[in-house]
């Protein structure tokens, strides 16, 4: 009977140790309820599960932590002063929830390579498709400088054909060949959205301005004159744009933009001219807004980044 009592005592002690350890690690039990965000916080786009950071930008820290007991309400200081070393088997817990999640993507000091494609949206007569690339260097997370190269492919609109049929007129047009620009950009806005309240995706909006040149070629009003009277032109082209980036991975973004290229172009003169040089000498000048919408995929080098601030 004595041996039975000893063995039961040992067993109960073991049970107690196991149960205590289990409670500290947060498994099971009644405290495995949902995190208690501040009732007053609310707001759209609170926590960020993808970043292991639930709660919310407006949410108070979770007061019902699975890692802490009622007597130990605050473990946050500990994680700030000395990051907790976790073993490879450790899983996420409520202590991983922070009040303000860090940005999901850092760009400062990184290079973005962006192949892009776009189309003109504001020309009634001729549409240009653009294929090109951006190479941007981020001075900070919000400021960048970059170079852009473009190659254009033209397509005449239906209105160009109807002009002759309906009004007995032909249009004065130039086609764009290729272009380049030096741009600077700034990120004034940053946001995130929830996809069906299941996944958080981060994005930013940017504004940009730059200066460059566009190489254009006259499309002769009389197609028979194309070889003899058409001339090429190098047109100064300031530009301004508005766009956004959608952060997909640590090294890739999807970008969209609306950019207005203001082209100081020269056109075939209305007065008769003899040859290409003569036509160019008497060319009509005009400022043309070539508004383009384009999309691109940004690849970042180096492919990884390191947070400089504590979580």
């Amino acid at each position: 009977m004595k041996r039975l009592a000893i063995s039961l005592s040992v067993c109960l002690a073991l049970v107690g140790v196991a149960a205590t350890g289990h409670a500290r690690r947060g498994g099971g039990g009644g405290k495995a309820a949902a995190p208690a965000a501040d009732e007053n916080a609310g707001g759209e786009g609170g926590g960020d599960k993808a970043a292991a950071a639930g709660g919310g930008d407006n949410s108070a820290p979770a007061s019902e932590s699975l890692d802490t007991t009622e007597q130990e309400p605050a473990k946050i200081d500990e994680s700030l002063s000395e990051p907790k070393k976790q073993g490879p088997t450790t899983t996420l817990s409520w202590q991983d929830i922070v009040v303000v999640p860090r940005k999901a993507f850092l760009k400062g000091g990184r290079v973005e390579l962006q192949p892009l494609a776009g189309v003109t949206v504001n020309d009634n007569l001729i549409r240009h498709f653009v294929f090109g690339a951006d190479i941007n260097y981020f001075l900070t997370d919000a400021l960048w400088v970059g170079l852009q190269g473009q190659y254009f492919v033209k397509q005449l609109e239906t209105q160009t054909e109807l002009l002759g049929l309906q009004f007995n007129r032909t249009s004065t047009m130039n086609r764009y060949l290729y272009g380049g620009a030096f741009n600077m950009g700034y990120v004034p806005g940053y946001g995130k959205f929830a996809l069906f309240n299941r996944q958080i995706i981060h994005w930013e909006v940017w504004i940009s301005a730059g200066f460059g040149a566009t190489f254009t070629e006259v499309i002769a009003r009389n197609p028979a004159d194309q070889a003899s009277k058409a001339f090429k032109n190098t047109a100064l082209t300031p530009n301004a744009g508005l766009g956004g980036r959608l952060f997909l991975t640590d090294w890739m973004t999807v970008n969209i933009a609306l950019r207005d290229y203001i082209i100081a172009d020269k056109y075939e003169p209305l007065a008769p001219c003899m040859n290409a040089d003569d036509c160019k000498a008497h060319a009509d000048s005009a400022l043309v807004n070539n508004v383009m919408v384009y999309a691109g995929v940004g690849f970042y080098l180096p492919t990884k980044f390191t947070y400089k601030t504590l979580r």
Binding site: R3, L4, S7, L8, V10, C11, L14, V15, A18, H22, R25, G26, G27, G28, A32, A34, P35, A37, E39, G42, G43, E44, G45, G46, G47, D48, K49, A50, A52, G55, G56, D57, S59, L66, T91, L92, S93, W94, N124, L125, L162, L165, Q166, F167, N168, R169, P188, G189, Y190, G191, K192, F193, A194, L195, F196, N197, R198, Q199, W203, V205
Partner: protein, 274 residues
């Protein structure tokens, strides 16, 4: 040797010990399967939206129409709404292309090419939009919040109008000899043969994308880009090449409209999600 009583006691003890470990082995991340956002304001679910604003057609060949915009929607769920809109034409603004084209035409001397109009005739035939109305289902796949300059924070949503039904009322810019419903003159030298008034209500479809940026729980600024597809003839002239202007020259035409409005949500107070 252990007695049966001892064996039984040890068996119970081992089973008791193993229970917590078994439970722990089954434990998964507390964040798994959790909603991305908790305790958020349900800014849309079961709320009415009433918006008033202004807009304009964009990318038109001849005339941009400045519009007064009214929008009404009921959000059935957080992500699905049924809505309607009315865009009422306030003013017609001639495009640069229209100016260049019309001024290139002779004001008084007819051309020896029959289809070439005089300036006034060309201008009168151009089609103008009086109003655009429609109804649709709206799908809101994205909701979130953003910061501007790290100072201003706002909740927003992005919605897509699932193809809806639209009606567009149109009229010619000036007085004409006939409408496109009437038979054209047989005389090839008669200018009325080459132009007709496109008027009436054209039924078509519409698609749109838009965003709401919320100011508090009950007010939002909305911006929307809409494409209305209807059978139109912006020039009021021959399109199919038969050298006669009539209803056969109507073709499916995209009309892009940008609007911005201030929307109020009812009830004013939004619910908070679990």
């Amino acid at each position: 040797m252990l007695s049966n009583k001892h064996r039984f006691a040890l068996l119970i003890a081992l089973a008791t010990i193993s229970l917590p470990f078994a439970a722990q082995a089954q434990r998964k991340s507390p964040l798994a399967d959790a909603p991305a956002i908790r305790k958020r304001f349900e800014l849309r679910q079961t709320r009415f939206e009433l918006g008033v604003g202004a807009g304009s057609t964009v990318n038109q060949d001849f005339y941009h129409t400045v519009l007064f915009n009214v929008r009404l929607a009921f959000h059935i769920t957080d992500w699905l709404a049924i809505g309607g809109f009315g865009n009422f034409g306030l003013a017609q603004v001639a495009t640069g292309y229209e100016n260049k084209l019309v001024t290139s035409l002779d004001p008084s001397t007819p051309s020896n090419v029959n289809r070439e109009p005089l300036r006034a005739g060309a201008q009168a035939g151009l089609q103008q939009i009086s109003g655009i109305y429609g109804a649709e289902l709206e799908w809101t796949p994205f909701t979130g919040k953003y910061s501007l300059f790290g100072k201003l924070f706002s909740a927003y949503d992005f919605y897509v109008a699932i193809p809806g039904v639209a009606a567009m009322s149109v009229k010619p810019a000036g007085p004409l000899g006939r409408t496109c419903d009437q038979a054209p003159p047989a005389d090839p030298t008669n200018p009325d043969r080459y132009v007709c008034g496109v008027n009436g209500t054209k039924i078509g479809g519409t698609v749109a994308i838009g965003v709401h940026s919320y100011i508090g729980q009950s007010v939002a600024i909305g911006v929307e880009l809409r494409d209305v597809i209807a059978q139109l003839n912006p020039s009021g002239r021959d399109v199919n090449g038969d050298l006669v202007a009539d209803n056969n020259d109507l073709s499916w035409t995209n009309t892009w409209v940008v609007t911005a409005n201030l929307a109020v949500y009812l009830p004013f107070q939004a619910k908070v999600s679990p």
